[in-house]
């Protein structure tokens, strides 16, 4: 092992989010980020925490896994998680508490931070050192480096900014952690999840998005046809989500999901600040728009001023005919 000469190494806790028995991609990114500050412990809580621990123990950068078994943790309710995180912090003296930037992480981490009077640091894009972090403000128009004076740093880490931790080859020590009593201030009623067998928007390598230029919801079928051979995810702008063309969870932007795929194809999207904030870290950006003045062309690597109803089907044909890549 490489000896680090820093005066004091941190001790990090990563709060794990499991999705259908798998570690969420955002959690894997958080583990990578956490390994920069010191040895990493993962905390997993649910009725099936022991099963999850088997999956987690193999993740390479993890030193240990804490399991808290309890029904009350099953739906990620922050009222139940925050006391558990706090108990773990008090028992083991962690200096950093991390989670991925997801609806779960954003909900839980600040509440846990409040218990210690610490100021949470949301959506970190870079860990400079134990105390210094980089994040974006003003819809990604300013990059801010901040230093925290808190004794414990509570952060959510932007999944697209960190590599995923390796899921094999590790041998973390698994330990039980006593469950906290159920808080009972809130209860889970139901999940209304969109069933989708398509790639996850936040982690897809290719994203094809539609904006107002799509005209209606049915036309999104056209984007799906193009997405299928590319194994791409389909995204959307706030305007089309608001218009009810597609469900909310497809929204890319400041208030939706942040994506950073290898390739982002924007169809009929003008490129408003709020949308661009959610995708400007994409490696290659291509834009199809009839309006040559659309702001999106100013940041696109490739652009075509043409009707998307011509371009998208033609691309689909060519990809199907040409045998991709």
């Amino acid at each position: 092992m490489l000896r680090v000469t820093a005066p004091s190494l941190g001790k990090a806790l990563v709060v794990v989010e499991m999705i259908n028995g798998k570690v969420s991609p955002a959690t894997l990114s958080a583990i990578t980020a956490a390994s920069k500050v010191g040895p990493v412990t993962a905390l997993v809580a649910s009725a099936a925490a022991k099963d999850a621990a088997q999956v987690l123990a193999k993740i390479k950068p993890l030193a240990s896994v804490l399991t808290a078994v309890g029904e009350q943790y099953n739906h990620g309710l922050p009222e139940e998680y925050a006391p558990l995180i706090d108990a773990a912090v008090r028992a083991n003296g962690y200096t950093h508490v991390f989670a991925g930037t997801s609806a779960f992480g954003k909900n839980v981490i600040p509440r846990a931070a409040a218990k210690q009077g610490c100021m949470p640091i949301p959506e970190v894009t870079e860990v400079k050192d134990e105390h210094t972090f980089v994040r974006e403000t003003y819809a990604g128009n300013a990059i801010t480096t901040i230093k925290s004076s808190d004794k414990i740093k509570y952060c959510t880490l932007r999944g697209t900014a960190f590599e995923h931790a390796e899921e094999e080859g590790g041998s973390a020590v698994v330990e039980d952690f006593p469950a906290t009593p159920a808080a009972g201030k809130s209860s889970f009623v139901e999940d209304q999840l969109s069933s989708s067998d398509k790639p996850d928007l936040a982690t897809a390598t290719t994203v094809i998005s539609g904006g107002r230029g799509m005209k209606n919801g049915e036309n999104f079928k056209m984007l799906e046809d193009l997405a299928a051979p590319l194994s791409a995810a389909v995204g959307a702008t706030r305007a089309v989500v608001d218009a009810g063309y597609v469900p909310n969870e497809m929204q890319v932007g400041q208030t939706g999901k942040t994506v950073a795929p290898n390739f982002y194809l924007a169809c009929g999207i003008s490129g408003a600040i709020q949308h661009v904030a959610g995708m400007k870290s994409s490696k290659v950006i291509a834009v199809v728009n009839t309006d040559a003045e659309a702001p999106f062309f100013q940041i696109a690597d490739y652009g075509i001023v043409e009707d998307l109803f011509k371009v998208v089907p033609a691309l689909t044909e060519k990809i199907k005919a040409g045998g991709r890549r």
Binding site: I109, A114, T145, I146, L193, T206, E249, I273, E306
Partner: protein, 258 residues
């Protein structure tokens, strides 16, 4: 602890004055330049206010109190709140020098103090302010109050002494039931805010706003996070515009993305 009589709920709503969301801010001299920028009510807070007013219109709530924390000029967002129909307004005045660096934690601690005083049954905040993009004040407040939280709320239904909240989560929606008092954070999907009517704007100018000096609340507003540098994001340059679909395909193929 809190009033449990149904139909007589007190709702507190928090409003922040921010640089208008359509303004593209510039970074200069290691600082975001906000002087002379158009300012307005944080869009998520407009939604929070609308929800509070709707709760009163549905006779679920009988009192809506709007609160802002900021310098003198922040007063104008409370005028909007009063014009929209909020019953009372409270302004926690922060000196100009400190106003820009008040962190969500300090805001939540100030709101905690106000909670002890006014004891609302429901707090409604926006899910994030579009300047700092922190998105954590509601969670911090709920944590400090040890109250239930309903973040990213797209639907709110008061059922007796409980509040059912539909939350926007990564893969769809989640419905949770919260005990009161609770803290809600409004998502864009919650409602469509109304515009204040001119006569109401005129009337709102005359309504009293209760002002508090932040120093009297006994909350330490010293920032925990110090900004070391602020830079512009790396600027992407415009690439090439092509004329035909064939050319477009070829370029993308060459770039090995399709």
């Amino acid at each position: 602890m809190f009033r449990t009589l149904p139909n007589y709920l007190k709702v507190a709503v928090c409003v922040k004055r921010v640089v208008d969301y359509t303004v593209k801010v510039r970074v200069k001299d290691n600082k975001v330049q906000t002087a002379n920028s158009k300012m307005s009510v944080n869009p998520f807070d407009e939604i929070a206010m609308e929800e509070a007013i709707q709760l009163r219109e549905k006779k679920v709530a009988d009192e809506v109190i709007a609160i802002t924390i900021g310098n003198k000029k922040a007063d104008e967002v409370l005028r909007t709140a009063l014009a929209l129909g909020c019953d009372k307004a409270m302004h926690v005045v922060v000196p100009d020098a400190a106003a820009e660096s008040v962190e969500p934690l300090a805001i939540a601690q100030i709101l905690q103090k106000i909670h002890e005083e006014i004891k609302p049954d429901i707090w409604i905040l926006g899910k994030q302010a579009v300047d700092g993009d922190f998105g954590c004040t509601a969670q911090l407040l709920a944590g400090l109050l040890d109250a239930a939280q309903g973040t990213f709320a797209s639907k709110v239904e008061v059922k007796g002494t409980k509040v059912n909240v539909t939350r926007e989560v990564d893969a769809g929606r989640q419905v949770v039931e919260l005990s009161m008092p609770c803290v809600l954070a409004a998502d864009l999907r919650l409602n469509t805010p109304r515009f204040p009517k001119l006569p109401n704007i005129m009337k709102a100018r005359k309504k009293p706003v209760e002002t508090r000096d932040v120093a009297t609340l006994g909350v330490d507003i010293t920032p925990h996070l110090t900004t070391q540098t602020v830079t512009e994001p790396t600027i992407r340059k415009a690439g090439v515009k092509v004329k035909t679909v064939d050319e477009f395909y070829n370029k993308l193929h060459e770039a090995k993305v399709i």
